[in-house]
């Protein structure tokens, strides 16, 4: 069903847009029927945005688990726990639902604490955690972990709204403690160790993202291990390049005095395509230093083909590689593997 896929959609944006359209104003009902609201809202304000969720294969598993509100076994828990809502205080409610599924969400929520934390900062007091817990209890499987990740990631974007619907999966205890900015995940200890651990993980992922931008061709790669390999390759290739260039510079004997001025002017003016002549290859050079395979792979191939890192040969003939390197012009690589972030291509 559209509504269900919408609800557990990988993209919170439609729900955000829904709230913006003013349909989300009935906050009084939210506490009781957290699930119902988005569903109803979707029905009211179905944009074309729903279409994007149909194609989300990740939701397919989830769809049958989300029958219409009030029907279906998976919601039965929720319904029963909803039944408690008017009776008990939010704390009790949370306690009850916490007992039901304390463990289920440990794995689920582990994936993206960053998003969750951001979302939880926007937590409005009141009903949201209750329904959130119920929902968590409902779906203890690993399917929701994906949804959680996507949702949390999306919620980072839409976080400013502070809608309650997004707090469904927020941690159990947090609603009272809005002054604590780092929330413990549901089912996880709130002691300083795990919090510090989460902060650390957040920092690491931040750095990894920064590195991802620096290293060219890393946009498609996801996963820390592969990213690290990529980074290591890149650093090695840069270092090899420096060695290669220093060997060349060592043979080009006298550094002319005008070098400094021209060098600096080159930096300042950012000459584009100033030197079009390829370097003369000095035959006296040995080939002991392997040509940076990184560059070789990424530039000499067609731009469409990704750099075949692992299959790059280790030894190249200097002449051909050098000319290949020189004639590249860095056109295919906009990010500039040579680090020419500011300048356009430079003809070698």
């Amino acid at each position: 069903m559209c509504s269900e896929s919408m609800f557990y959609g990988s993209n919170w944006d439609p729900i955000v847009s829904l709230s913006q359209s003013g349909n989300f104003g009935n906050s009084s009902i939210v506490s009781q029927s957290e699930f119902a609201n988005p569903l109803m809202l979707e029905n009211q304000a179905m944009g074309g945005s729903l279409a994007q969720f149909h194609s989300d294969s990740g939701l397919v598993d989830l769809v049958p688990r989300l029958p219409n509100f009030g029907s279906g076994s998976s919601f039965s828990e929720m319904v029963t726990s909803f039944g408690h809502n008017p009776d008990s205080s939010p704390n009790l409610q949370k306690g009850a639902t916490q007992d039901h599924c304390p463990n289920s969400d440990g794995g689920m929520l582990g994936a993206s604490p960053y998003g969750k934390r951001k979302r939880e900062r926007e937590v409005q007091q009141g009903a949201s955690p209750k329904s959130g817990e119920e929902k968590q209890c409902k779906d203890p499987s690993g399917d929701t972990s994906r949804e959680d990740d996507k949702r949390k990631q999306k919620s980072e974007k839409g976080v400013a709204r502070g809608k309650q619907a997004k707090d469904d999966r927020s941690g159990a205890e947090p609603s009272k403690e809005d002054y604590i900015h780092v929330r413990a995940k549901r089912g996880q200890a709130t002691n300083s160790h795990s919090l510090a651990e989460r902060v650390r993980r957040e920092r690491i992922s931040e750095r990894m993202r920064l590195l991802q931008e620096l290293v060219p061709g890393c946009n498609k790669i996801t996963g820390k291990a592969m990213m690290l390999d990529e980074i290591i390759n890149y650093v090695q290739s840069l270092q090899q390049q420096v060695e290669f260039l220093s060997m060349k510079l060592a043979t080009v004997n006298p550094e002319l005095n005008m070098d400094i001025d021209r060098l600096l002017s080159k930096d300042i003016l950012q000459l584009h395509g100033g030197n079009t002549t390829p370097l003369g290859v000095s035959p006296g050079m040995g080939s002991s230093i392997p040509f940076p395979p990184y560059l070789q792979g990424s530039f000499n191939n067609a731009p469409g083909t990704g750099p075949p890192f692992h299959s790059l040969p280790q030894q190249h003939v200097w002449n051909t590689e050098l000319q290949g390197l020189l004639q590249m012009g860095f056109d295919p690589d906009p990010s500039g593997i040579m680090g020419r972030s500011g300048s356009s291509k430079m003809e070698l």
């Binding site: 990894m208 980074i231 290591i232 650093v235 840069l238 060997m247 002319l256 930096d267 020419r340 070698l348």
Partner: protein
């Protein structure tokens, strides 16, 4: 802990100046024929100039400068192809925690890119 990445052009100009000076000194030195020694000296000069251009504000440049002062194996580091470990690649990476290792790597990559650019420009200028 997150210092912003360096301004590429400032590093480039600083490195360029220092490196050219070092190369001049190198060419004037005796015993530097067209040999392997010259290459090693050039490479060392490149590394040192880059670290000097960056200054002591980053851990990796501090590590490089420390190694020079101790006169330990500054030159032989890269040729021995350290194991595929980020800690082995980034200077000073052995004693760092993972978070700072990553940020140092980012800065190091930026500086390496600047260095490569400058050296390429030098090559083009000197023998077009």
């Amino acid at each position: 802990m997150n210092i912003q990445p360096p301004n590429s052009s400032s590093i480039k100009s600083r490195f360029a100046v220092k490196f050219v000076q070092a190369m001049k000194r190198l060419s004037k030195r005796r015993g530097m024929g067209d040999r392997y020694k010259r290459y090693r000296a050039t490479r060392a000069a490149a590394r040192v100039s880059l670290a000097a251009a960056v200054g002591p504000e980053r851990a990796w440049s501090r590590a490089v400068l420390r190694r020079i002062k101790k006169r330990r194996g500054l030159i032989g580091r890269t040729t021995t192809n350290p194991r595929r470990n980020l800690r082995g690649l980034v200077p000073g990476g052995k004693g760092m925690d993972y978070c700072s290792l990553l940020s140092e790597t980012a800065h190091y990559i930026t500086c390496l890119q600047a260095q490569v650019q400058v050296m390429q420009d030098m090559l083009h200028l000197s023998s077009p």
